[in-house]
């Protein structure tokens, strides 16, 4: 298992190099000059464009730029963005908020989704099963922004249960509603996935054996059934962590959460690659590591899976 983990970690290196190169290349290939649109209907002064290009190394060939990027990344020097503000400090401000929001959302998805899935899977065709099927159908058919605006308007503006937007501190209680919104869609996915998996495994040999051995119902479900049924769910939640870390642009925008999504959105619009590239790089890392963790967890959950 240890060797497997190390091998996987080493595999990350070429993947990170490859993806960052592609990201750099693509940003470079984008049409339009990042400084041409910054002066509205007037053209920007030439001296400004030249100075900015020089400052950000846009006048260098692609490979030199990529080399500089790697060098800066390894020394932890992310420099400043086109607005002259430190990239590291912006990421430092935004990322903890996004991580908090993402973890809360995944926790909601896991607890509510798996709970509902198990309950409905065990009593297939029963009342709870019908309730879960119907409510997940409802959630699946609602786009995120509808849920978000609806909750903001009803709870925030009409009932004053919450504030319509989140403050700069973005504390855990403030993030509950946004996290629920963010989780709503995937909560339904998780519930359905868990349900299917449970229903399938209920008929499997090892469950029949466990029951025949005379194990308590609790132990059959908790240890034998659930652990095996969670594998597809875990795969789903693992990638979910990755995509939530990249920021939920819509939800962040609606609740005015100053997370990574908004930062990335603004940077992409302004073609500010000084932010886009580091964020994308970090996201690649998050994806790779969360995938690795999921793979390792398979072995913990299902004893039949071995890593040599």
């Amino acid at each position: 298992m240890g060797r497997y983990a190390i091998r996987r970690l080493l595999q990350l290196v070429p993947v990170v190099l490859g993806t960052t190169f592609i990201i750099n290349y693509m940003v470079w290939q984008l049409p339009g000059d990042p400084f041409a649109g910054r002066c509205g209907q007037r053209p920007c002064p030439d001296s400004y464009v030249t100075a900015m290009r020089e400052q950000f190394g846009l006048d260098q060939p692609l490979l030199v730029q990529y080399w500089n990027f790697l060098k800066n990344l390894l020394t932890g020097n992310l420099g400043t963005d086109f607005n002259g503000v430190s990239v590291a400090s912006q990421l430092g401000d935004a990322w903890p908020i996004t991580i908090r929001l993402a973890l809360m959302a995944v926790a909601f998805e896991a607890i509510i989704g798996i709970g509902a899935g198990v309950l409905s899977g065990l009593k297939r065709g029963g009342f709870i099963d019908n309730v879960v099927t119907l409510s997940t159908l409802f959630l699946l058919s609602l786009p995120i922004f509808v849920t978000a605006y609806l909750l903001q308007w009803v709870l925030g503006v009409q009932l004053h249960v919450i504030e319509p937007t989140v403050t700069d501190a973005a504390t855990v209680p403030e993030l509950i509603v946004p996290a629920l919104v963010l989780a709503s869609l995937n909560m339904a996915f998780t519930a359905r996935l868990t349900r299917t998996s449970i229903v399938e495994n209920l008929r499997s040999d090892y469950v029949r054996t466990a029951v025949a051995k005379g194990l308590s119902n609790r132990r059959v479900v908790g240890i034998h059934l659930l652990r095996n049924s969670l594998i597809p769910v875990l795969t789903f939640l693992g990638t979910e962590v990755g995509s939530l870390m990249s920021g939920a642009i819509i939800t962040e925008g609606i609740f005015n959460i100053h997370g990574i999504g908004g930062l990335l959105w603004r940077a992409i619009n302004g073609q500010d690659y000084t932010i886009v590239v580091p964020v994308a790089t970090l996201l690649v890392l998050v994806y790779l590591i969360s995938n690795l963790l999921v793979d390792l967890l398979y072995g913990v959950l299902d004893p039949r899976i071995r890593y040599e």
Partner: protein, 561 residues
């Protein structure tokens, strides 16, 4: 300073009714409920966005930074929030006999927030710094009219893309700037400019304190200023805090202790906060709230309905035989656009049709410069189209109007396209269509390289409230924003005559004549001028919106509970 005759900022002011009975006046006894949470701290919260550059007035050209910079810097001249007329601010007097040599005298006793006095040298140094090309300031071109500009600001011979570099300027001092004494300086222009006084209210003409020159980069993040408010703190992407400047000498003092410029990514979020009174002011009511005038129901007497100095036009690439058409073609297109219906249906009357190339709220505005060519008249449009064709112009089968997809232009351009196509009829032999470039930067890139295949939407936001600002930068031969490369010697001559006229009234009359000349060639089609929709919370009162569409920071006050 003349008070502008035509300036009709009729509704820029919204005095909020204080008449809630429970809030009774003088007693100071707030009996139960209605306590104003803003009263204790004296802080108000207004909608903001992250400035692209810091607090260096010569290096700002976008509204996020411009708005907050105007709170903290005073200029020689300021614009009246009600009439848009320029009034002296830091200047005691601005005098000239020939519009070429200007003597500017500062008021005495003006101070920077670090205690140092505001001197003539501060102005001259700041202007020199901004104009000097190696400093790469965005506002450098504003000093192009001052004598010696070509010596401090050199052009890259082959543009920023070419391999050559701009030569180092001979000097870093503008020859036309001269400090006379501590409070007086003289500006010599290359040619007489009648609106120079009005221009001085633009933020690029601010002064900079000694502290700036020691550390320009640090200063941009933490400035020393001279305006009604002073800088306190900037949390990037989240808020900027300014507080009332106790030394501010102006006759009208700030009425609140602190303003928090709270950044929102989404107009809807700001609006939700406004409706629930968490935010005290926003000048961006989202389209979802404008639809069906929902915002007026939501906000009641907290809604502010006004106008701002922004107009929308469609610009023709007159340099292109294929897409520029001829004058009759352009006139026909103008006649085929039903401005009234579009502003009513698409913008909910949030914009008003214009009949000329100048915003109706500025000095020198005269209605009807476009004659009857800017009024919907499908019969005449068809007639002129036939004439244009008989003169030898064949429009391409598909004629695009370009816009940028990152703005909200799709709806009105499609409506415009429909209006034109309907007016010309199915047998016109060609069709107008709407096309998008993904971003504003890409659109501008193609436009400035003069490679656009079609016409494009243009919006002009005034830099200062004067008719001149809507003509010179857009239609003079070789002007900085003359996208269509329009050139008309007579017009140039008329504009020059107006620029050099010494009597302001005469200058305005000449500008109006110049504007009317645009009718002959119609290089751009005027569409409508922007309205302004803003709103306040129930905690504040007296809020005025400037002709630039932003909050007048001196006007906002906290309601007494």
């Amino acid at each position: 300073m003349r008070v502008t005759k035509g300036a009709k900022i009729a509704t820029g002011t919204a005095l909020l009714a204080l008449g809630v009975a429970a809030c009774g006046g003088g007693g100071g006894s707030s009996s139960g409920g209605g306590d104003n949470p803003r009263a204790a701290s004296g802080t108000v919260y207004i909608r903001g966005c992250e400035p692209q550059t810091g607090f260096v007035p010569g290096n700002i050209n976008e509204t996020c930074g411009g708005t907050i910079n105007d709170f903290v810097y005073s200029k020689l001249v300021k614009y009246n929030s009600d009439t848009a007329a320029p009034e002296l601010d830091q200047a005691e007097s601005i005098e000239t006999t020939d519009n070429k040599v200007w003597t500017i005298k500062l008021k005495s006793g003006l101070k920077w927030t670090d205690g140092t006095p505001v001197t003539a040298k501060n102005y001259v140094d700041a202007w020199n710094y901004t104009a000097y090309s190696p400093n790469a300031q965005l506002g450098s071109f504003w000093f192009g009219d001052i004598e010696g500009y070509d010596k401090v600001n050199t052009q890259d011979p082959d543009g920023p893309d070419g391999p050559k570099e701009a030569p180092k300027p001979e000097t870093d001092k503008l020859k036309g700037l001269e400090v006379v004494d501590d409070l007086t300086f003289k500006v010599t222009l290359t040619a007489p400019i009648s609106v120079f006084r009005t221009k001085l209210g633009y933020s690029t003409f601010s002064a900079l304190p000694e502290a700036f020159f020691k550390d320009p980069k640090g200063f941009a993040q933490k400035p020393v200023t001279n305006g009604p408010f002073k800088f306190v703190q900037w949390d990037h992407n989240s808020q900027i805090i300014v507080e009332a400047n106790p030394d501010y000498p102006g006759p009208e003092k700030p009425k609140v202790k602190k303003i928090v410029y709270k950044m929102y990514k989404d107009d809807n979020a700001a609006y939700a906060d406004l409706v629930s009174n968490n935010l005290d002011f926003t000048e961006l009511i989202p389209p979802s709230a404008l639809a069906g005038d929902k915002w007026k129901t939501d906000l009641g007497d907290r809604a502010i309905d006004g106008q701002q100095g922004v107009i929308q036009t469609i610009t023709f690439p007159v340099y292109s035989k294929e897409w520029g058409g001829n004058a009759d073609f352009r006139k026909a297109v103008s006649l085929a656009i039903d401005r009234k219906t579009i502003t009513e249906k698409i913008f909910n009357k949030g914009r008003s049709p214009i009949n000329g190339w100048v915003s109706p709220i500025v000095e020198g505005f005269k209605d009807g410069a476009c004659g009857d060519l800017c009024t919907y008249n499908p019969a005449k449009a068809k007639e002129l189209l036939a004439k244009a064709k008989s003169e030898g112009y064949t429009p391409p089968a598909e004629f695009p109007i370009w816009s940028n997809a990152d703005g909200t232009h799709k709806e009105w351009i499609e409506a415009t396209v429909n209006s034109i196509n309907q007016a010309f009829g199915p047998d016109a032999g060609f069709k107008f269509v709407h096309k998008d470039m993904p971003t504003f930067a890409e659109l501008r890139d193609v436009v400035t390289q003069h490679k656009l295949k079609g016409v494009h939407r243009t919006g002009w936001q005034m830099d200062y409230p004067h008719i001149e600002n809507f003509l010179n930068p857009l239609y003079k031969t070789g002007a900085s924003s003359n996208d269509g490369l329009y050139s008309n010697k007579e017009l140039d001559a008329k504009l020059h005559e107006a620029d050099t006229a010494t009597d302001p009234a005469q200058a305005n009359a000449l500008y109006q004549e110049a504007e009317a000349m645009l009718q002959q060639d119609m290089p751009a089609i005027p569409l409508w001028s922007y309205g302004l929709q803003a709103g306040t919370s129930k905690w504040v009162t007296g809020v005025k919106v400037t002709p630039f569409g932003v909050l007048d920071p001196l006007s906002i006050a906290i309601k007494e509970a």
